[in-house]
């Protein structure tokens, strides 16, 4: 009976896993096919001949600078993660540990925007980014999304849990707030900071609606926005589309593989304390 349950469970897991892995595998396989072979039915699971021509083509063509998109995305996501972590950590520390007039109001204001649907910000932020002359630049991708409330909320929860004694004894030794923050609180918070950096990186890397409308020039696009350009320009060249999708997936999948625990724990923690 027990082994029957176990067999059933593994059977279910294997089917589910196949459902999750096979589309990705097929994407990868297709990217190594010729354009004719990519659209053959029934689908084949091995490229014959095995060719890199799709990659060659998307990496060469001037209208689809995939490498440039890749660098843009990397730069934007990394800068955004850094900005989020730096500004949120400072603010979260003030909200977790410092006493000042208006603290409750500031905190309530920040938290209440956690539940503001992002759609409300799209139109006015386009206007603001336009006024700042940031349209069609990576700044439009890096800065506005760093203003979210999640990072502050997440780090504040973490800082509030740190034992106060360490800070108190440093304070008695004559350390000021900055020294306490930089020498004690930040080093103790590395896991939380890394988690937030990672979540911000992934969110920014995968952002779609905003870059599609804010970036116009082919050379300024991010990978996600570029993919949609690639799709509308080559709607029948599935070998090219899959190669582009692979280029966009591999770095995040690698990052995810390395930091999987942080990502998953970050998400689950954010959910429970939300």
């Amino acid at each position: 009976m027990r082994s029957a349950v176990r067999a059933l469970r593994y059977g279910l897991l294997v089917v589910l896993t196949a459902l999750f892995v096979s589309p990705l595998l097929f994407m990868l396989v297709t990217s190594f096919k010729t354009s004719q072979q990519a659209v053959e039915t029934p689908p084949t699971w091995w490229p014959d001949p095995f060719t890199l021509q799709a990659y060659d083509r998307i990496l060469q063509a001037a209208d689809t600078p995939v490498l440039r998109w890749f660098l843009n995305s990397m730069l934007a996501a990394a800068a955004n993660a850094l900005l989020v972590v730096a500004t949120s950590a400072l603010a979260a520390y003030a909200l977790a540990r410092l006493e000042f007039r208006g603290k409750r109001i500031v905190f309530a204001l920040i938290i209440s925007t956690l539940f503001v649907p992002p759609v409300i910000l799209v139109i006015p932020n386009y206007e603001i980014v336009g006024r700042l002359y940031w349209l069609d630049t990576l700044l439009a991708i890096i800065v506005p999304t760093a203003a979210g409330a999640f990072g502050v909320f997440f780090l504040r929860q973490f800082f509030a849990q740190l034992p106060r004694e360490l800070e108190e004894s440093a304070y008695l030794d004559g350390a000021n707030r900055w020294q306490i923050f930089f020498r004690i609180v930040l080093p103790l918070s590395k896991p939380a900071l890394a988690t937030l950096a990672l979540l911000s990186f992934l969110t920014n890397w995968n952002d779609f609606l905003w870059p599609v409308y804010v970036l116009f020039s082919p050379e300024n696009q991010t990978l996600q926005a570029g993919l949609s350009t690639l799709q509308s320009a080559n709607s029948v060249r599935y070998d090219l589309l899959m190669a582009g999708a692979v280029v966009a997936s591999v770095p995040v999948l690698l990052l995810y593989l390395v930091a999987q625990r942080f990502v998953i724990e970050g998400v689950s923690r954010s959910g429970l304390k939300g």
Binding site: L19, P23, L24, P117, I123, P124, Y126, I264, V267
Partner: protein
């Protein structure tokens, strides 16, 4: 600057060695605002100001490319409720599309991830690997997911139709250009893409349920189903509420799947509200109109959230009484 501020503050903790330092220290005020400043600048410019500016824009005939933007009062709003206006049909059609999508995806994204989480919460070999696999699509982002599934769901050369045919099922389904198949495709792909996200939150919730509750239930002779109904579900209520709310919000903001897979086809049937808002405001630059639409969508969402919140509260009080 801050160093001098802190030094100028008399250090009360030093004068009362042995006593716990007072919770409120004078002088934190200015330091605190310096800590807050960088974030608050971003927050004010890109969150608070836009909320107000959005309302302002919605009261004007606002075109990004035009120099003068005349005040029109509530015209942008009334136009959306006037069946004779140009935007009436496409807007409410897009609201309906968002509604249909939300209606079908939310229950699936509450129930299926819970089932997966329950399986994943048991001890067995390779559990973490499975968990990582089911979460992976979410990491890929909507662009990769959309481009990939558009290929797999292509009517003529797609793998999905090909395998359906091999199983003796209809193999000529226009997944991306006819309804209802397009809805099945959009909802199915979304579940595939985000199932892992909700499951991870459920798993954390399941792990927080004290084992003693199950032990007590077992002592009382409760079977699997009774345990699920009387221990698991009530204990998970806050988590389920959170999952429900974020799933509703993200479903109501669905854009990429529809943009990349169906491009709103057939006609505008699968064009979601945010898709239409973005098209109106950021492509045709009728920003006043688009801002009014986003406020209507936001209000609808807020009402829905309050209803969900009330339902969970009500259920909670019924169960505890």
């Amino acid at each position: 600057m801050t160093a001098t501020v802190t030094k100028a503050v008399p250090d009360p903790a030093r004068d009362r060695v042995g006593k716990p330092p007072p919770a409120r220290r004078r002088g934190d005020g200015l330091v605190a605002w310096v800590f807050l400043a960088p974030y608050l600048v971003l927050f004010t410019v890109f969150v608070l100001a836009p909320i107000v500016l959005g309302l302002w824009i919605s009261l004007h005939s606002w075109d990004f490319t035009l120099p003068n933007k005349p005040f029109v009062g509530l015209d942008n709003y009334t136009a959306l409720f006037d069946p004779g206006s140009v935007s009436f049909d496409p807007f409410w059609n897009s609201m309906q599309a968002t509604g249909i999508f939300t209606l079908f995806s939310v229950p699936l994204l509450i129930v299926v991830p819970l089932a997966v989480a329950m399986v994943m919460n048991q001890r067995f070999r390779g559990r973490n690997v499975f968990r990582a696999i089911y979460f992976a699509p979410y990491v890929l982002g909507v662009a990769v997911v959309g481009v990939m599934w558009r290929f797999l769901l292509d009517r003529n050369i797609g793998a999905v139709n090909s395998y359906l045919g091999a199983l003796g099922l209809p193999d000529d389904i226009a997944w991306l250009s006819s309804v209802p198949p397009a809805w099945v495709a959009l909802v199915g792909v979304t579940v595939w893409w985000t199932l892992g996200f909700n499951a991870v939150i459920y798993i954390a919730g399941l792990q927080d349920i004290p084992r003693e509750l199950y032990e007590a239930a077992t002592m009382d002779g409760a079977g699997w189903w009774a345990q699920f109904r009387n221990v698991t579900l009530p204990s998970l209520r806050p988590v389920t509420m959170f999952v429900t709310l974020i799933t509703i919000i993200s479903s109501a903001n669905m854009f990429g799947q529809s943009f990349l897979m169906t491009n709103g086809a057939p006609a505008r049937e699968t064009q979601t509200a945010i898709f239409y808002i973005a098209e109106t405001g950021l492509q045709n630059f009728q920003m006043g109109q688009a801002a009014a639409m986003s406020w209507i969508l936001t209000l609808a969402l807020m009402v829905l959230s309050v209803v969900v919140f009330a339902i969970f509260r009500l259920r909670g009080s019924l169960e505890s009484s």
